[in-house]
Subunit: 227 residues, 2 copies
């Protein structure tokens, strides 16, 4: 009789096992975890700053920032008043579960309600890497064009929510928010959809409500599983 030897099927399988351990840890602390994915310059950090400002009075937020180099983003988020950790990937185009594991040594999850992970600016690579998150959120910037869901379908398919940002620029663009919505729903009919301007704050209320709802749903589900 052969012993059951665990076999890691390549690097993504090792990542999945570690992500499952992270998920357990997040569940223990009853924390909602969002993984924010977008192209460079889509406005992820500004959205996180505005989200902190909008939820700060009600929820305890923490942020894990992923970037190839620099700690510009963690400094911005930290200035917004929440605990933040910066991960520099070097040339790496996505975060991996082991990076999240290490960054958690710097964060006390018992003091958190929501952890926001800002992934490296990249609309493709981060999609396949489970970080133990509850929700994947794709930010699509309107100036990138309303055809992006069709051209980069995998990340939009994987998204629980899509935040269309920079809608204040619509009058000056060939792209339309309505078309971006339609193309997103063509690729992923189940995505929660938000249209915002992180600069003006327009459209943030439904997005903030969605985060609160998802946290409440997660906690209710954990409670019903434990009874």
């Amino acid at each position: 009789m052969t012993k059951n030897i665990p076999v890691l099927k390549g690097i993504t399988h090792a990542n999945e096992m570690l992500a499952d351990a992270l998920r357990k840890q997040f569940n223990q602390h009853r924390v909602l975890v969002l993984d924010i994915i977008a192209s460079p310059g889509a406005g992820k950090t500004t959205i996180i700053e505005k989200t902190i400002a909008g939820l700060h009075d009600e929820l305890r937020l923490m942020v894990i920032e992923g970037d190839p180099t620099t700690s510009i983003d963690a400094e911005r988020v930290s200035a917004a008043g929440v605990p933040a950790v910066q991960i520099n990937t070097g040339g790496g185009c996505h975060l991996e579960a082991h990076m999240i594991q290490i960054s958690l040594q710097q964060l006390d999850l018992s003091e958190a309600d929501v952890v926001i992970i800002e992934n490296v600016g990249n609309l493709m690579c981060p999609t396949d890497w489970d970080l133990g998150e509850d929700m994947k959120v794709v930010v699509a910037s309107l100036p990138e064009g309303d055809d992006k869901p069709l051209k980069y379908p995998l990340s939009f398919q994987a998204a629980d929510a899509v935040v269309v940002n920079k809608i204040d620029l619509e009058p000056y663009l060939p792209a339309s928010t309505q078309k971006m919505r339609e193309n997103t729903l063509t690729i992923n009919p189940n995505a929660a959809l938000f249209a915002v301007s992180a600069i003006t704050g327009e459209g943030f209320e439904p997005w903030l409500e969605w985060i609160k709802e998802k946290l409440a749903e997660k906690r209710a589900s954990l409670d019903s599983a434990s009874t």
Copy 2:
């Protein structure tokens, strides 16, 4: 005495050997090859369309389009009146030399002066993959923010030219073209710099001149090497 056995040092080494073979082939045909790298939605295809319109009377252009899925871009470029091939990478975040090799079966290089390769929309992954090109061109869209050269330095460092696009939106953005120029030159003092709007056509003349210059320089250099 051991025989000299060629060892491929991983997939990028195999890619480099193939890229060298492509480079020889491009040189034989006296063709200038540009590899265009940018985030999704930075305006690569629109820049290529406008470049075709600007150079069509003087030079014979061909385009190789890289995308995760869809042939939208090759159709646009083909409609602009030049031979075009579409490469779909599936989930792959960059083009590789073997993809270029296969696509050349569809293009008659003896009928070309300039080949433009539009890489997959990704500001990180394509940088390390040699395609046998003469020049790497990074397109940076102003709405992405003027801090992008600092945050994604590797692609800007590798660029022979940087085209700042969508400058027509500057009045409505927190970003500035001047700051984008400064940040680009901080990261790469040798980059040729262009500021354009692919929608309005503003700023295209120096960019078109640069392509013509680089073609003339390459041909002069090939001539002097062969005498």
